[in-house]
Every structure is written in C-alpha cells, then in structure tokens.
Symmetry: D2
Subunit: 349 residues, 4 copies
C-alpha cells in the first residue's frame, strides 16, 4: 500500500465523500489516507456510516491544510459550495493536487458564480487555473491538471447527451429543452422537509425551475460546442428513488437524420472512452442500468412528424455525477488508465 | 338505496374498475349494482381484492348485455382497448347510458384509431355519437350525452394544462413539448416484466417515446383549440410510484406574459369548475398533492431568458385520469352537481 | 353547517392533524371550525400543505383556550407528548370535550409515564378521568367521556389482534412476542436523519427495541385482559413506505385450537363493530388493504409443529392508529353511529 | 485471463445469475466463460439486461453438459428448484466442480425435500456427497468439496445470527421465533401478481407463514447446533424494497447474559471470518448497511424484563444470500483467500 498515491477527502461525511471512499477502496493505484470532516472530527467515520464498520476503521480528521499535506498527495474536496473557493488555494500552494466536487470552480466568471450561487466567488487567478473535468469533452486539458473542477451531476448527464449533436450541427442548439430528473441523494444528507421520506415517497415534484445553479455550467459548455451563446430551458424534478439522473432532451433537427445516424455519430464521438455507452436503435436507457457505476448511457428517438429528436441520457448521480467522475479525472491527471478502479458492473436489480 | 341510479362496471377487476367501486361507494345519487368481469365471473370480488372484504360482498357477474340491462341504468366500461367498441352499441340499443374509459371512442376517425391502437375501430356511427368527456373543455356537450368517451390519463393532465394558453394565443402551439411522467398503476394489473417491482423500484425509464396511443387524442384537442392542425412532441416516463401523473410542458411565448398573468388567465378559464386548482406565483404542484382525489393542479414558470413558459400539471391517474373523471362525467350527464361524490380531500402524506 | 358540532384541532400542521382535517371534511355531524398551530399561527394552512388549496382556505389560529372555547365544542389535541397534559385541564374546565392523540393520558400511573416518556406526567386527577379509547375493548366507557385518550398506533394494531385470544384463555399471554413494523409517517413531519429519504428508501431497520414508549400502554391492556401482570416482548421496525402498521404476533397455544376456531372467536368478539375485519382461513392481511381507511384487519396461522399461533394485524397508522380512531371515539362520545364519516373504502392500489 | 479458473453459469438470466456475473467480473482468479440459459439461448445477454451492454457482450449458450465441460472448470447452477438435481450428477461425472444455488441439495433426506418442495428429490448418493456451504459454520467441509450446496437466503441470515448462541447454550433453542423480512428480488424475475409493482409498493405483507421451504434447512442446522431436534417458528414478509433480508429473532435466555457478553461471544465465534460483523452495544444493523456486499451484520438487544434476547441479522439476499456466498464457497473449495473478489464496500445510500 505504501507506494499508492495517498488521497485525502474533505467532506467525508457527505454522500459524495462516502462514495469516494467506496470507490477508492477498489483502486489499484490510490488509497484513502485521511477522511476529513469539519463537523465530526475525532469520531470514527463508522459511527455515522455503519456500512463502513470493520472496513474503514479510521477516525475523522479535522480540516488542517498542514496536516493534510503530511498525509496526502491529492485532495478531494466534497464540501458544500463556498468551502473549496477558500481551501483550494491553500492546498495548491502546498503542492497538493486538488479535485473539487463543488461548483466553486466551474464558472470562470466571478459575477456569474455570484449571481447563481449567492456566495462570493473564488479568486479569479484560481478560477482561470481550474480545468473543467468533463473529460470526454475536455480530456486533453485534464491530463496534468493541478486544480480540477468536477462537473455537476445534471451537467454531466445533459452535456454528454447534447454536445456531439451540437458540435455536428445536427440540432439547433437554441431549441434545446432539458427535462431532468434526479434521485433524492443529489440533495445530500442534510435533513429537511425537502428530503423527508413521507414527503417524497409516492410523489413526483419539480423544483428550482429555470433557477438551478447548474444552468450556467450547462450553458457555458453548450455555447462552447455551438460556437455562440446559448441559453437553454432546464427543468429539474425529484424522483422517489435514491440514486440516478435522467436528462430527457428535446431539440429541433437542423438536418434530416435518422436514429441510426445519431447512434453512429455518438459512437464515433465517444470511441475509446470507456464510460459512455450508446443504446441500439429503438432502445432507451433507464437509470437503474447504470446504478453504482461510472457509465453514462444514451439513446435516441427521432420523430419525423415534429422534426425533433429526443435524447435520453442517464447516470448514477453519485458516481458519474460526482465521485466516480472525480476518480476518472484523477486517473487522467495521474496518467493512469482512465477506468482504473472504476470497472464496476452496474448493480442490477 | 332503491332510488339511486344503478351503475354496472364492466372490467371490475382492473384498477380502473376497483377505483370506480371505491368512489361510487360515497356517491349520493348512484350506487354500484353489478360488478362484471369476463375472466373472474362467479367469484367474490373480495377474493382478488381483499381491501373490499365485508364492504363489497358481491360476486362478479359475467358479461351479458341482457342481464346488465336488468340490473343497471348506466354502464361504465373499464375494459382493455377493443372491448368497448363491440359492447357499447349493444348496451346503447338497450337504452343504457354508457361511459367508456378505454380509447375506443376517443378518436373520431377510424383510420387514426387503427393506426395507433392496432385494432379495428368502432362503428363510425357510434364514433360520431360519442362525446369526449374532458368536461372542463367540452362540458356543454357532456350534458345529456348517451355515449361518453372518458379521456385518457395523459391527455387529461396535458390538455387541462395547455388548452387555455393555446386558446388565448399566448403560446405557439407548434412549439409544444410535453414531457409526461406516470406512476405504475397506469399500466394496469397485468403482470409483466414491465410492471415487475424489482425492475421498476429505484429506477426511472422512458417508454413509447413518440409512439404512445394517447398522442392523437392530445393532438386532436390541441388542434381544436388552436384552430389548425397541431403535432406535439410527447414523451412518457415511468416513475417508481403507484399513482400520479405529471405533465411538464414547454412552449414558446407568443406574447410577453408574466406568471401572474398566466395564473389569472387560467383561474378565469376554470372559474366555477370544481376540480382545477391553479397554484400561486412561484409554486408548482406535486403529484402527491392530488393523490386519491379528482383534482388537476397547475402551476407556471415563465423564463424571460429563453422566452418560454413551463407549465406543470398533475393528476391522480386513477381518479381524474380515469374513474373520478368518469363519475364527474356521469354527474354532468345526469344533471347532478359536478362534484357529487367526488369531494375527497387528497390523501397526504 | 351551523348545526354541526364544531371541532378545533390543536397541532393541525402535523400528519395527525391534517388527517383529522381530511376525515372530518366528510363527516355528517361534525366540522372543523378552527385549525390551530403554535408554530405557524397566522399563515394559511395550505401554504404548508398545498393539497388543501381551495378546499380548506383557513388561516391557522394560535393556541388560546379562550378563543378555542368561542369557536369549538370539542378539541382534538394532536400535539407532541407533554402538550396535552398542560392543555387538556384548561379546556375541560371551559366545558369542552377533549380527545388527546398523544400519550399523555394513556398511562394512569404518573411514574410509569415519566419513566417511559421522560417528561412530567399529567395531574393524577385528570389521568384518572381519562378514558382509554380503544373502543372495541372499552367502548362502554367511551360513551359519554369528557376526556378521551386515543390509543397509540402500535397498541391499536397489537391489542385488537391479541386481546380476544387472551381473554378466551387460548394463548399464554406471557409467551407473547410482538414484531411490529411501521411506515415512516408514524415518525411525524419533523426532519431528521431518521426520516431522511435516502436513509430509509431501500432500507429496513429495527429501532427502540424493548424501549418504545408504547410498551407500557400495551402491557396495561394485556394485563387487564389476562387478569394478571403481563410483560411482552415488543420490537418496532421502520418499513420503506409512508403509511401502514403490521403487528406480527407469536404466542404459545394454551389450548389446541384451529385457525377456523380463532376466526370464529374473533368474529364473535368483534360482532357489530364496523372496523375490525377477520380474514378467512389461509389468508393474512397486508397493510395496503386498509390504506386510508379505519379498518383493522386480522388473520391467523396456527402451527401444530411448534404449538404456536401467529396473529397478523394491520392498520393505517394515521387513520385507525390516530385520526380515524379519534373520530370513531368522538362518534361514540356524542352517541352518533360509530362509523359516521368513516366509511371510506381503502385506497387500493 | 487464460490462467483464470473458468466458470459457467446456468440460469444466467435470473437475478442470481446476473449477480454472479457482476461479482465474478472483479474476481482475481476466476472468470465467467459461459453464460447459459435454457429459455434465451442464442441471444445476447445484454438484450435482456442492458446494464451489461459493452461489458459483457456474450451470447447465451444452451444447456449442454458436453459444451459446458469444454468451456468451464466450475459450474454455478442458478436455476429453479428441480433443475440441479438432474444436472449436477452429469456435470460432476464430467469432472466439473458444481455449486448449486437452489434448494435441491440442501436437505439430505429425500422425503423431507419432497414434502417441502413438492418435487422429486435428487439421487441420495449425491445428496450425501453435497456439502452445505454455510462456510462460517461448516467451513472445514467446504474446502475441497466437489458438490457444494449454497444455503438459502433466509437460512443464511437466520443461522449466522442464531447458531453461536445455541452452541454456547445461552438461549433455549426450542423457544426460537424467527420473524424474517425480505426485499422483492428474492422472488426472482418471474412476472406475477406477487411481484407486481403496484401491489407491493407502499405495502407490507406476510407470506408462506410456517410453510416456507427454507424451514427444514434452518431446522436441520439448528438441530445440529443444539444437539437435538429443534422446530422453529419462522415467518416471512415482503418489504417494499428490492434487496435485503432481515431476520429478527427472539429466544428465551438460558443463562443470564448481557448484550456485551453476546457481542464478545459472537466476535470470538466469527474471528478470522471476513464477512460477519458484530455491531457494538446498543446498535442494530439495517439492511442498507450491507447492500451490494457479502457481509452479514448482527446486533443484540437483551431484555431483562422478559428474559429474552432479540437478535437482528441482515444480509443482501442476492449477495451473501446467493451469489456472493457461492463465490465465497468457490474460494474455499479452490483454497483461495476467502474474500477474493468480494471486498466490495456496501453501496450506501
């Protein structure tokens, strides 16, 4: 174990944090060397997460950059918005690699961040340094990055599903409507009426319509792919399940293309990338088909009657939408195989 | 009880049928006089539905129009597609009023029915006679109808949410995209991999994209409202819950209107109608808020950035989407109060 | 409406409170005249419970005995433990009838209450006055009661299932083991890790084993039925569902009796009581078969190999386990039909 | 890969079969060389299980012992009861090792099997040869076994929880009552009313009370541990979740022992065994804490008032209750590390 890259996890008691622990346990080149929590430092992590009993006997460390430096080579920041903007610079200065799972470094323009997040933005020097780790699109920049900004869960599902068609010019990007649905774990472990079992079970609800903080992150990449500024309609819903995101996307066809052509376009676009799977004609993916895994599965339905294509993209929000993608990015940053430690078959049923 | 209108229910062992039994039990002017099932005739209905034990001790009758005539004044047909097209004419000839919950009389053009349902259409003479019972839109025709075609569950949620804005000319009807989600009970009681618990629980999936048989029914009414032929993009998803439908609808604004203006437009449109409720500004309805009731709740989000409005409409698929709306139609056909027997408060949580 | 008995509900924003509103809406002789909440006074109840929109436009009143007296004839106390012990005496002194849904008046001995609830007990004079409203067992005392203590949800399911066999001497009461399971709504609307969706969904857990505050209430009635002091093993589990309780009970047979004999014993015991239903031989009830209704359904399995009987008893925890039983008790207190306003068919599926 | 032990899976399209595929994918010494299905031979397994797309491109083989011999060293039989009794002898004769996940070889007495399973028993010569693979109890016999009978899911949870206390003489084995609860996946992938989503969701039900075919398997091991014939009360319930089993067990204390003493007894009993975890005092395990993993977690509650101990034991029914335990047994049969390929951290939440 001594020669493995040592990883510290800040925010270990959140769902993103424990998922990092689960996935890194199986990693061939990295190991968790410190689990860090500002609120529960000094207690065994298994007290709050008994599923880690006997497997992960560690006691939670406090947040201390010097101590982190002594214990780790790379730091995953899995803390709420506003924490990484302060911590990342300190850690980078100490020579640590940083992978941030929050939104703090996803938006290069401070005013945009402040508008959508309602918090002060990070230092612009670091915003500029940060690489947006949607590695199937920006993989070249990820290799060798020191400060990696891991994409949001909704943007990951949406962008992997929409970008190839936009880049190819097959759909009108300004017509894009994204109807997204997420399991409840995306809301984190905090207890509130919004995460209360009796309120969500046997219920389906929309929330933050046109107001979700993932919108600017989505539009930034869409605009980059389209070569012009794009605004998109983006709706989020809460599904009575724990894990999984589906983005159902609608766009007007700019060219007359068949489902089979879409399938081939996407298979070529993602060739050699281990985590995007394209369904065959007539088949659309369901969220359970990627549960527990780092896959993003995509399917298509072209409708000649309306001249629109429907694109369905699914991920596990805690894996490809958070911890798994972060490890995928670590793999690229360290020049390891992209899928090292991530070759889980989805858990089905 | 003797002076109550007697109702027979064909297809009593389906979910629509038992929901009719549940709701009619509380009706002041009607009573269930015969529960009919082709497959289980001769057995007590409580054998298959123990929740009816001691309440509804009746034995299931077979399908025999003459016997039905002797026992009933009105017949609810809650059978699979293809049954009502054969039975309704016989029952009407015997002087019975008929309310059909299947799709057999929803499409006036036989070829359209045959294209979407893959079955022979009903006799055109009866197709013409049938009144489409979306009573908030076609209420005048419902009063006095002899053959009532009860709308589908998806069309009910969709059309109540879309028609007022289209009639007012506030949205471009050709831009309409309907992203619909349903609980599993909409698929009926038949056992299949598609209704298997372990396949649906903790899963979210799209199905029949652009192919759902409710599409022509929706487009027919949309076209009627728009005054020209409309094709709409319509997607259906299965939610891991038993009851509830949400239609999330997207359309381009034809006029610059605020959420508050939409709210007022809809409140006026549905004034005096007991079962449509419009949420105040900034609030969208969730499916559980109508569970077990005949309400259709609607909310709006206008997005100036994209020039689109998002309309969210929810119903309980078995009540307003089936049995409840059928009883609402019976009330109008019989000239009773529209909400007789339907004043249930939704069951929450 | 003017001649209806006026009911005030203290704790209207809890699940027990809104369920009282739902059920009383359909009551022929009573109406809700005041909804009261200490925490949300002055706001419309539909703000927190949009399912009540347009149906129940009332604004929440504060807790003021004088105002309650001016608005109500009877008061339902649906507040947390410790509230009723203080409020009930004030309300009784003003001549109001009081039905308490908490545990404050269920245990006649103050020290037992204080041991299990960890709070000061009510004034012994009022503890003595209080009638325990398990009306199928203590119905005679309920008629004419001024202070009614509504049984807990677990005790209701357990005692209705166990008492007839104990009274008949057919089982050894000291052998009784109760394995109980509840939906999450029993924990109330308070947000905590213990009611968090992601923690409970796809999970099954035991809690408060041998420590649940309903144990002394159960043992009190069991002892009363047995004619001697009984201690029982009682375990509670949380089921990933919103509503429903099942008590699975095990006891050694004191006499050699068949399932059919148990069925007959119980049918006789509950003859004329509208809310207990006994399943036929070989059939056990499931929680969904009573959902939304005031029924308690009971079934039996006798095992000659082990000399034990298994008794399964199910209720809806919010109806027969709380609000429904409270109204049933009101009906008896007021000398109305026992099932007035409670003739709901369970909602299935 | 060539030097890995080759495994064939008969019944690959059942839930046990696909779980074997998922787990073996991560195995260091074994690989899946043939996926076999009598009903779907010739089609790609990913057609029925899209979660295997791109990962497991194999086409299903038919059932042909000669072909199996050419492709495999060991065969997992994950077929319904009655298949293994016929196939296992043929495979053994060809020199293959066989691990049977059905009940066909769990009961050494043919008449007992025939009574509980209603099918002809296997050849007694093979019944005698079969080793019952509850390896924490019978590990010595498992090493080197040729025909391994993998325990049932309920027996695994029950016996790991009950045997140490019985062997130590701390509880009266004849007082044992097992109240077991299972997720729906235990019923397999077959579609029926009993696995229908709308029937099981928001429902909790008991089934096969005193009649479950796992009873004789449980009693056989209990009797072995007690040194005398034991009959046990055993009840099974269906929980609205996909995975997980909890056995809540009740027994009279034969000695006055504390929870802490139970904890120490069990920790010693399972010392060195990687898959049994004992919770500390005051903590009971929940099913989600072992989800997706091969762990069996156990906790205790001693009640001095009643003189009984409550033992709670949880597993993932498809892993420790089926595929995982089968691989654990393979590891022992092949003299590999007991936990090879099974070091998954449970998936939480």
């Amino acid at each position: 174990m001594g020669t493995k890259t040592r990883a510290a996890i800040v925010g270990s008691t959140g769902y993103g944090g424990v998922e990092l622990i689960r996935l890194l346990q199986a990693h061939p080149y990295a190991e968790v060397s410190s689990v860090i929590s500002s609120s529960s430092a000094g207690t065994p992590i298994a007290d709050g997460y008994p599923h880690l009993s006997d497997i992960f006997p560690g006691v939670l460390d406090g947040v201390d950059p010097k101590e982190i430096k002594s214990k780790a080579d790379v730091v995953f920041l899995a803390a709420p918005a506003g924490v990484a903007s302060r911590m990342a610079p300190q850690l980078l200065e100490k020579g640590l690699k940083v992978i941030d799972l929050s939104g703090d470094f996803r938006l290069p323009q401070p005013d945009v961040y402040e508008h959508w997040y309602g918090k002060p933005a990070a230092d612009p020097a670091y915003l500029e340094k940060a690489v947006f780790g949607l590695s199937e699109i920006y993989g070249e920049q990820v290799r060798g990055a020191e400060l990696l900004s891991n994409p949001g869960c909704y943007p990951t599902a949406t962008l992997l599903g929409a970008v190839p068609a936009i880049k190819a010019g097959w759909i009108d990007p300004s017509s894009l409507i994204v109807d997204a649905k997420s399991g409840v774990s995306g809301a984190g472990r905090g207890a509130s009426l919004g995460t209360h079992y009796s309120e969500l079970n046997e219920n389906f609800k929309a929330y933050k319509v046109n107001k979700h903080q993932h919108i600017p992150e989505i539009e930034r990449v869409l605009s980059d792919a389209a070569g012009r500024d794009i605004v998109a309609t983006f709706t989020t819903h809460l599904v009575p399940m724990t894990r999984g995101i589906m983005a159902t996307m609608y766009a007007s066809l700019a060219e007359d293309r068949t489902e089979q052509e879409f399938i081939e376009l996407y298979r070529q676009f993602y060739e050699g990338r281990p985590f995007v799977r394209i369904r065959p004609e007539g088949v659309l993916p369901a969220t359970k088909e990627v549960s527990g895994s780092n896959y993003c599965d995509i399917g298509f339905a072209v409708d000649r009657r309306t001249g629109r294509v429907t694109i369905v993209s699914v991920i596990d929000n805690l894996v490809k939408g958070a911890a798994g993608q972060a490890i995928q990015n670590l793999n690229l940053m360290m020049d390891w195989e992209e899928n090292a430690g991530l070759q889980f078959i989805p858990m089905y049923p």
